[in-house]
């Protein structure tokens, strides 16, 4: 199949890939600089900044908190998003366009506006449950990613296979498990990954809703940049890049999703 791709297209893809990946290399290089401040190109070589970040209780706390937050948000986004996407694709609902528009609106409205609106709403309700506020805020933002991705999978499901399975005597549950699930699984996994990463990286919503006890990684990074611009910030950024890469590789290993299928 690769033989069908023209050399020009191959070059274009590699150039594009380099443009996307190159900026990610910069913090990785800066993170090993043996200077008390960030410099590029790096001077000397040390891994002490990684040690500083990995042994810092505050960094560990925020990282674990972000993992917990993103995990809960991903789960809720999938629980809400998958049935929603299935319903929107498979049924003709009254006001379907309006529902879809409302669900996808967080992609259009600036996140900072959503954040302040949520803060105002929670304040009026007298809510002091910061973690729940963050989960709700992040879910609002992550849900469109899940629904878009999962909808795409449901659209591509071959309905004839479902009919054939039913004719052959399979129960609706069996059809869902043995016929539909294998076809929508890549979309659901991709949606879950998107939701996790969007929540893990979110700054504008968290900025309004977080507090000292519930402090995600992006806010911690911003705080570190203001404190002192030393290479530990680059080390933290590099660790986040490695973590995202590891996540994709783990999902690939566990669910067998090839990159080509993710892209489709």
């Amino acid at each position: 199949m690769n033989d069908d791709i023209s050399p020009v297209l191959k070059i274009c893809v590699w150039v594009l890939l380099a443009l996307v990946v190159a900026p990610l290399v910069v913090p990785v290089l800066m993170s090993v600089s043996d200077t008390p401040f960030i410099t590029f190109p790096p001077q000397g070589f040390t891994t002490e900044w990684y040690g500083k970040v990995l042994t810092d209780a505050e960094a560990q706390g925020t990282f674990l908190f972000s993992l917990k937050l993103a995990g809960v948000v991903t789960l809720i986004s999938l629980i809400l998003g998958v049935p929603c996407a299935a319903g929107l694709v498979r049924y003709d609902l009254p006001g379907q366009g309006l529902i879809l528009g409302l669900i996808l609106s967080p992609l259009i409205v600036p996140l900072i506006v959503i954040g302040v609106a949520l803060l105002q709403t929670f304040a009026m309700l007298g809510s002091r449950a910061t973690f729940a506020q963050l989960v709700i805020g992040h879910t609002v933002v992550c849900l469109p990613y899940v629904i878009r991705t999962v909808s795409g999978s449901f659209v591509l499901v071959n309905r004839s296979l479902e009919d054939a399975a039913s004719v052959m005597g399979a129960s609706p549950l069996t059809v869902a498990r043995r016929v539909v699930w294998p076809q929508v699984r890549p979309g659901i996994c991709a949606g879950g990954i998107f939701a996790f990463i969007v929540s893990f990286d979110d700054y504008p919503i968290s900025m309004w809703l977080a507090d000292g006890r519930n402090f995600p990684v992006p806010l911690f990074l911003h705080s570190m940049i203001e404190r002192s611009f030393d290479p530990s910030i680059a080390a933290m950024a590099a660790l986040m890049i490695f973590f995202a890469l590891l996540l994709v590789l783990m999902i690939e290993k566990a669910f067998g999703i090839s990159l080509a299928r993710l892209i489709s």
Partner: protein
């Protein structure tokens, strides 16, 4: 059998009566909780790691600190005005008139704040807030560069494409506008601040010398330390001196026209939860021992008088009060400026956007 003398009996009786009061220092605050909005950066780090834990231990209370910056902190007060979530908010002096006008803050009960007795009057804000940390705003430059003696020199060809200018969205950009007005009119800052509207041609004249705009002080300081630009203007010393203290090749310069005070303040949120505890926390922030350690950590000057510092710290801060005067530390008329700032921001964006 031991007999008690009348004097000893009286002393014991008094001790017994006084014991609950002595032991209950802060007992009224047991179990209470307040949420406060603080700054990020090294100041926020110190407040969270040093000041709050001690305060919580002394009063048996909980203080939840949320890091932010002036604009965000004011936004949070506005968003939660109907049902305030915060009790104390840290903001810059620039925002106090706005907060006061919008009814977001209340006048401080100074009688309940004994530590405010040593507050310098210039940082009392008519009782609507207090200073907490005072920085000096000026130029920052790579140590390999000789700093200009006057701001006017920055307009010269020698600095073509070598300057980093603070973004219009940051407060120090107002200091730059005052500088431009002062350079054009030849008047001191106190008069020049009222001439900004007529000085945008002077602002535009600096454009060829501007390499780019920055909105993150520590990052800009880092870039100048690396030699990516010669000079940055304008920024607060609290973002620059921590690098200098670490050995980075960067320092600040305060040209002959004078320098500006960057005043970090605290305000009491109107209708905020547990007001009494909030006032106690604000008082704690002004106590001499807290101010001394806070200033030494963040390299900012305290707003209270009577604190003795060692030479290494004094090198970086404008203290005592006479030093503030000697350096010509200018505090702008924020009431005048705030009503015009959005229009000035638009004009600056128009000049530097392309």
């Amino acid at each position: 059998m031991t007999l008690l003398s009348r004097r000893r009996f009286a002393a014991l009786s008094l001790s017994t009566l006084a014991a609950p009061m002595i032991l209950s220092k802060g007992a009224w605050a047991q179990g209470k909780e307040i949420q406060i909005g603080i700054w990020g950066g090294s100041q926020g780090e110190f407040v969270r790691k040093n000041i709050i834990p001690q305060f919580e231990a002394d009063f048996g209370c909980t203080v939840i600190a949320e890091e932010g910056f002036t604009l965000a902190n004011v936004g949070k007060m506005q968003a939660t005005k109907a049902n305030p979530k915060f009790s104390v908010m840290f903001i810059d002096d620039v925002a106090i008139p706005t907060c006061r006008a919008e009814g977001l803050i209340e006048e401080l009960p100074v009688v309940d704040m004994p530590a405010a007795a040593h507050l310098m009057p210039r940082f009392a804000y008519d009782g609507w807030g207090t200073g907490v940390a005072i920085s000096v705003a000026g130029l920052f430059h790579n140590t390999s560069i000789e700093a200009p003696k006057t701001y006017a020199e920055l307009w010269g060809d020698a600095y073509r494409g070598k300057l980093k200018l603070v973004s219009p969205k940051n407060t120090p950009s107002v200091f730059f506008l005052i500088v431009a007005a002062a350079v054009k009119s030849g008047k001191p800052f106190a008069e020049a601040q009222y001439l900004i509207d007529d000085s945008f041609d002077q602002v535009e004249a600096l454009k060829p010398n501007i390499m780019n705009l920055f909105d993150n002080g520590p990052q800009a300081a880092n870039e100048v330390a690396q030699g990516q630009a010669d000079i940055g203007l304008m920024e607060l010393s609290k973002y620059v001196y921590p690098y200098a203290a670490k050995g980075a090749p960067i320092t600040m310069a305060f040209p002959a026209e004078g320098s500006f005070g960057g005043n970090n303040c605290q305000v009491l949120v109107k209708g905020g939860p547990n007001r009494d505890l909030a006032v106690a926390f604000m008082n704690r922030m002004l106590e001499a021992q807290v101010q001394k350690s806070f200033s030494e950590f963040a390299l900012t000057a305290p707003p209270v008088s009577g604190i003795a510092f060692e030479e290494p710290t004094l090198k970086y801060i404008a203290y005592p009060e006479t030093q503030m005067d000697n350096r010509g530390l200018f505090n702008p008329d924020w009431n005048f400026i705030n009503t015009r700032r959005s229009a000035w921001t638009e004009r600056m964006n128009g000049i530097f956007a392309v």
